[in-house]
Structure formats: C-alpha cells, structure tokens
C-alpha cells in the first residue's frame, strides 16, 4: 500500500493508505475507494450501502458544496492540486472544515510539496501524498517552523492579535 503522511497532534507521521484511488475508466475494486465526484454521484449510494468506506476526489474547478449532503457518510475528501499553482483546494478545505464541520480526512493529492504543507494544514488538510519525496520529519519541520500566525483559519492556532491580548 502507498504511504501517506498524516497530520495529527501537531506532527506528521507515516501511515498506510487503506484507500484505492480509482480512475473513472477503471472498474471499482474491492475495499475502500476514492472516486471522482461524477462517479460518486452515479454510484456512491450503492458503494456506501455495501458498507465500505468511500472517499471523493474534488478537482480544482469542482465545488465542495456539491458534497454537502453526503459529507456525514464520507470518510475522505481528496482535494486535487494538479499543479501547485492551482490553489482552489485551500478554499475548499476551509469550507469543508469551517462551514460544513467535516470531521473526516481531508487529503491533498497531486503536486503537493513541502512548501505548501503549512498552508494546507492551516486550511484543515490532514493527509498528504507528497510529490517531492518529503519524509514525515520534513513535514513536521516545515509545518511547525513558524511560532505565530496572523489570521484565524481551520486550525486551532490563536492569531497574533489574540496572543497580544492574552499577554
């Protein structure tokens, strides 16, 4: 099984990935799967009824709002970053976490590099398929590098203005 980086309790750890990412043209294998939004809309109910775990892959131009009703039954939302410049997923992650209160895994897939890790974690992404060979140690290092933040996001870090008030 491919290895994931999972972000938990302020650090990264390597984790086995129990999910199979399934391309639209491929048949659905047994076990837990991550499928496209389109396929989920066609086959999702059946797959969920089979009792397996289902994740949905959201492309940059797709709206996470389309998943709103199904979120309670989804295990994973995989946000696609085909190129690192395609930053729509940062907004999608925050909406999933902050607006819909999604508690499952939010995974970043695609051109996912160490330089984006901190931004992604702050937006609520908690699983990664790094494209640059980064280790969990690298990931922990870059995400925890900064001691402060200036704005609230999907994580629980207190922004600078709250730190100042507290001191």
């Amino acid at each position: 099984m491919p290895v994931l980086i999972r972000w938990k309790d302020d650090r990264a750890e390597a984790a086995e990935d129990p999910f199979t990412a399934v391309a639209d043209e491929d048949p659905i294998p047994r076990g837990d799967v991550i499928i496209s939004l389109q396929r989920f809309q066609a086959e999702g109910q059946r797959l969920l009824a089979e009792g397996r775990k289902v994740g949905v892959r959201i492309e940059p131009n797709e709206a996470v709002e389309d998943l709103a009703r199904d979120l309670p039954r989804l295990s994973v939302v995989a946000l696609a970053f085909p190129k690192y410049q395609q930053g729509q997923g940062y907004s999608s992650a925050r909406i999933l976490r902050e607006r819909f209160g999604f508690g499952g895994e939010v995974r970043a897939v695609g051109d996912v590099l160490r330089e984006q890790a901190r931004f992604m974690v702050r937006c609520g992404v908690d699983a990664f398929e790094p494209a640059d060979g980064s280790s969990p140690e690298d990931w922990t290092h870059v995400v925890n590098r900064y001691r402060h933040v200036y704005q609230r996001a999907a994580d629980d870090l207190a922004p600078a203005y709250e730190e100042r008030q507290a001191s």
């Binding site: 940059p60 709206a63 690192y84 410049q85 395609q86 930053g87 729509q88 940062y90 907004s91 999608s92 925050r94 902050e98 607006r99 590099l113 330089e115 984006q116 901190r118 931004f119 992604m120 702050r122 937006c123 640059d132 870059v142 590098r145 900064y146 001691r147 402060h148 933040v149 200036y150 704005q151 609230r152 996001a153 600078a160 203005y161 730190e163 100042r164 008030q165």
Partner: protein, 551 residues
C-alpha cells in the same frame, strides 16, 4: 508609526531561517532552479537578465531613518551602491548574489523589514496614500488599515496560491494619491452622512495588457468588517478566477466577465455565510494599531513662517516651494517632496549616500518618517515650515532638490530592458532623453502638471495607461518602438489613455513629446492642465502634430 513587536519580529526571524535553509538546499544542488523558483519568488527574489533582483517590501511606503539607513547599507554592501524605488513603493536591488540573499534578509529583519510577498501569486505589499497622517483631507489614517491588511495577508493560508498576483491600495482622501482605481482592490475610506467610517470597495482595476478602472462593488462597507469582506472577495477570486491563461488570470477579468453587479452578488453571498467575528479584527487590536499611528510631538506653531517666506527670495527655493512643498494638516508644518527625477538620472534610483542623507533629514526634521510614493519619489511628511529651507539646502547639495514634483520631468518609468527579462524595450533612456529636453525648470514650470509614464512592456509596471502622456515599449522585429497614449490619469478622476497613432522609433519619442506639449500650450485655456486641454479638444490636434508629414 507602527513598530514591530515581539510577535512581528519572530515572524520575520522564522521567515529568514526558512529562506536560509531553502537557499542552502539550492546551493547544495538539492533543488533545481525550477523547483527553487517557486520558493524564491515567495521571497521577492527574481532571476533577471544579469543577476538576481531582490524586491524589498515597504508596507504603505513608510520608512524610518533606521530602516532607510539599513537599505543604504545593503545597497552599498551587496549591490552597486544604489537601489530603485518602484511604483509599488518597494525597493529593488538589481545586482544581488544568491548566496548573499539570506544575509540580506537577516539585515532587513533587524529593522523590521522583509521581502515577504513581493512576488508570487499572493497578496502583495499593501500601498497607501503617502500623505497619510499629514494631509488635512483624509477621513482617517489609511496606514492603520493598511497595517491591519499587512498582517492579515502575511502568509495567508488560503490566499498564497491565487490565480495571479494581487494588489491592494488604501486611501482616505478624495484626492486618491494611491491610484486605487487601477488596483485589484482599491479601498477608499470615508465617512457616510451618519459619520460612520467605511470603505468604498473597488475591485478589478488594473493595468497590464487589458487595462480596467475598478468598479465599485460596495459603496460603504463598515470599516470594522474590512477583513471578513476581503476574505469573501479573495475566496470568490481564488475559486473562480481563471488559471488556464496567464493573461486572463487577474481578478479584473473575472469581474468583467461577471459584470460588477454579478461579482458583487457572489461576494455578498459568500460574506453572508462568513463567520465575520472570526475574521474581523477585534476593537482592541485596531486600537493598538491606531495608537501606533497617533500623531505625537507636533508643536503649536503659527500657520505661517517668516523664515520660509524670507527664503523664497532665492528663486530656486521659491520654485521648490511652489512644486515640492504641500500643505500639512497641522499649522506651521509642511509635506516636502524629494524628487528622484533629476533630469538625466534613472527615475526612482537613489544612491546609498542619498538614502543616508534622507534618513538623517527624516530623523532631524520629519519626526523620523520618510514615505515612498507610487510616483517613485520620497516624501518628508512632517517638516516645520521654519525648517523647509534648511531641508532644501541639504537636498540641493545631494541633487535631490529638483523642483519638478508633478511636472513633465517627474517621469514614472519601469526598469525596462536595461534590467528586466520581461521587457520588450528600454524605458530608462527614453525617460532620460525626455527629461533632458525639458530640464530647464522654467520651461517645465510653464508647462505645468503633466504626468509622463513609461513602461518597457505590456505588463505596464510604468503605469503608461494612466499617464497624461503614456509611453509603451514594443518590439517590432527586434527593434524598440514606442506606442504613445494620451489622456490617462490614476487620480480621483481616473481615466485610461487613448492611443495616439502608430508606434514611434526611440529617437522620435522626445520630439513627439515636444510636439504634444506645443499643441497643448497653443490650445490651453486659462489654468488648464495638459489633461484638461486634452479632454476638451480631443486626440485630433495632437495626432496631427505628431504624424503630419510622417507619411
């Protein structure tokens, strides 16, 4: 003026440590130039024609003496002894070695400066009215809000990988010295009839290949909701802005495609769903920032100064007083413009020695404040009228007293093909040639207010679209040509220039400007500026003068 506290300083320290490590990986060959590019671009480091260029942020154009001295030190130690102030109130150093970049960032951090988000597809350095805190016509101090935006936009987790770069300008004066109509977001702070502070929010202005003046999407946003409303705008843009075509990726294209009303609707819908209290700054933090900008140390002085009036017996000083000295909100004080546009020099360039002198003058005569304007000049915002003559004398000795603020020789120009890998043509030599033609200060004064703006390529860093005379460098089969536009303005009554005619070869440009000026002087009525005359008589007589006999 806002001083960085322990948190701000630790942010910079963490940033410089990160960049040092990243540079180390590049220098050790662990990263290719291509992989490194996305990293260095987030730190204001560009690879240009001859060397690396470092763009240092000057938030809302405000500098202290210590900061300006540090910039002088860096220019002298790590560059060729000078720097270039840009139309975004940043300072560019054009001859940087990669191995020095981390040390430079450390030096900057020592004085609360940085190069954060001076490049990349993120929210860039926030600009504001350079007369903030000194002008009588402002509804509030725009720096308070610009500083709030600086913090909010720094390392924003959601908005650091936008479709394209993103620029925000703030003004609180109807005179609009921040060019808010040509920004991705322009914020015009004012009070409504009930006396409540709020922002007129303009979105989707911009220059570049397709220039637009930003439409207003909200006439009066209560000031306290600035951050949540901006989050809504940025989110709509981040989700729906185009990423398939570099030339259509700016927010202006999205706003144009949805129309201002449609875009505003999307923003309002998003904003409705936003937990505003989680995003907007608490009153305590706003009060903390406000206190940092509170006026202090002004003396009670008579409104006029005998020393100032007496010094005008020197015609050179009198001319400087007419063009480079502006009224201040406090009686007995003045705003003094330092021109970085001495004819023959590169617009916006400033030597290390000049920076040090200006730092000293700022400390001694201007309450330790120096400002940078988007016109690529510097400003001493709080000078006692009694001291203006002494300041002028010191500036004069350093070739910084050119009395041309707003005149034909106060030319905006981007670095152009002399430095920039994007440019099609040179901008600096054109600016120099035009300025030399009009270097007689009496002639420049006779012509009056006339903004010439020159860009070396369609990216329009020299703001040519909003020049009363705009000049755009184009490449015609390997030769530098220049397209002239007339009638642009970035100020309160903003307008985009109209194309005069076919592009001209470089050697023809100064003559053409001369011909345009002749038409203006012939046609002008009363106290009309070039722009007023152009708006009244239209393009035809100007075109006729430049192209007659050219066929």
């Amino acid at each position: 003026m806002y001083r960085y506290d322990a948190i701000d300083r630790e942010m910079l320290a963490d940033r410089t440590a990160e960049f040092r490590e990243q540079c180390g990986r590049r220098l050790a060959g662990e990263l290719t130039e291509d992989q490194f590019k996305r990293i260095r671009l987030m730190n204001g480091l560009y690879l240009q024609l001859h060397a690396y260029m470092l763009r240092i942020a000057i938030p809302y154009g405000a500098l202290t003496g210590v900061q300006l001295r540090k910039l002088a030190f860096i220019a002298r130690t790590y560059d060729k002894g000078y720097g270039h102030f840009t139309t975004r109130t940043n300072l560019q150093l054009h001859w940087i070695k990669l191995k020095d970049a981390p040390d430079i960032l450390d030096h900057l951090a020592e004085v609360g400066m940085h190069a954060i988000q001076t490049s990349g597809n993120d929210i860039r350095n926030i600009t504001a009215d350079p007369h903030a805190g000194a002008t009588a016509d402002e509804a509030d101090d725009p720096r308070i809000w610009a500083e709030a935006l600086r913090q909010w936009s720094t390392f924003h987790p959601e908005f650091s990988f936008l479709p394209r770069k993103f620029k925000i300008a703030v003004t609180a004066s109807p005179a609009d010295r921040a060019a808010t109509k040509v920004y991705d977001i322009g914020l015009r702070l004012h009070r409504n009839p009930d006396g409540e502070l709020g922002f007129e929010v303009l979105v989707g202005g911009g220059l570049g290949r397709t220039p637009y003046l930003g439409p207003t999407i909200r006439a009066h946003l209560p000031a306290r909701h600035l951050l949540s409303y901006l989050q809504a705008i940025m989110r709509v843009y981040n989700r729906h802005g185009r990423r398939d075509n570099l030339w259509k990726a700016r927010i202006k294209v999205l706003v144009a495609s949805l129309q201002a009303e449609g875009f505003a609707r999307e923003v309002e819908e998003e904003w409705e769903k936003t937990d505003k209290a989680a995003v907007d700054l608490p009153d305590t933090e706003l009060a903390r920032i406000r206190a940092a900008f509170a006026p202090r140390g002004f003396e009670t002085l008579p409104a006029t100064s005998a020393a100032f009036e007496a010094a005008k017996a020197d015609p050179a000083f009198a001319r400087f007083a007419r063009h480079n000295v502006k009224p201040h909100k406090i009686p007995g004080y003045a705003i003094v413009d330092i021109s970085l546009k001495k004819p023959g020099e590169t617009p916006g360039d400033c030597s290390a020695e000049q920076m040090e002198l200006i730092a000293e003058l700022g400390e001694r005569y201007s309450m330790d404040e120096v400002r940078v304007s988007y016109e690529q000049n510097l400003i001493l915002p709080h000078v006692k009228l009694d001291d203006v003559a002494a300041v002028w004398k010191a500036l004069h000795g350093a070739e910084l007293a050119t009395p041309n603020r707003g005149l034909i020789t106060d030319i905006i120009a981007c670095p152009g093909l002399d430095y920039c890998s994007l440019a099609n043509a040179r901008a600096i030599p054109i600016a120099q040639a035009i300025a030399r033609k009009f270097e007689d200060p009496a002639l420049a004064e006779q012509i009056g207010e006339l903004g010439i703006k020159i860009s070396g390529c369609i990216n329009a860093c020299g703001h040519h679209h909003v020049g009363a005379i705009g000049i755009l460098g184009v490449d015609k089969k390997g030769e530098e040509f220049y397209q002239v536009t007339l009638g642009g303005s970035a100020e309160a009554e903003a307008s985009l220039g109209q194309i005069l005619g076919p592009a001209l070869p470089a050697a023809r440009v100064p003559t053409a400007v001369d011909q345009l000026v002749e038409v203006y002087l012939r046609e002008r009525l009363g106290g009309e500026r070039f722009l007023d005359t152009f708006r009244r008589v239209g393009l035809a007589p100007f075109k006729e003068a430049v192209y007659a006999g050219a066929h």
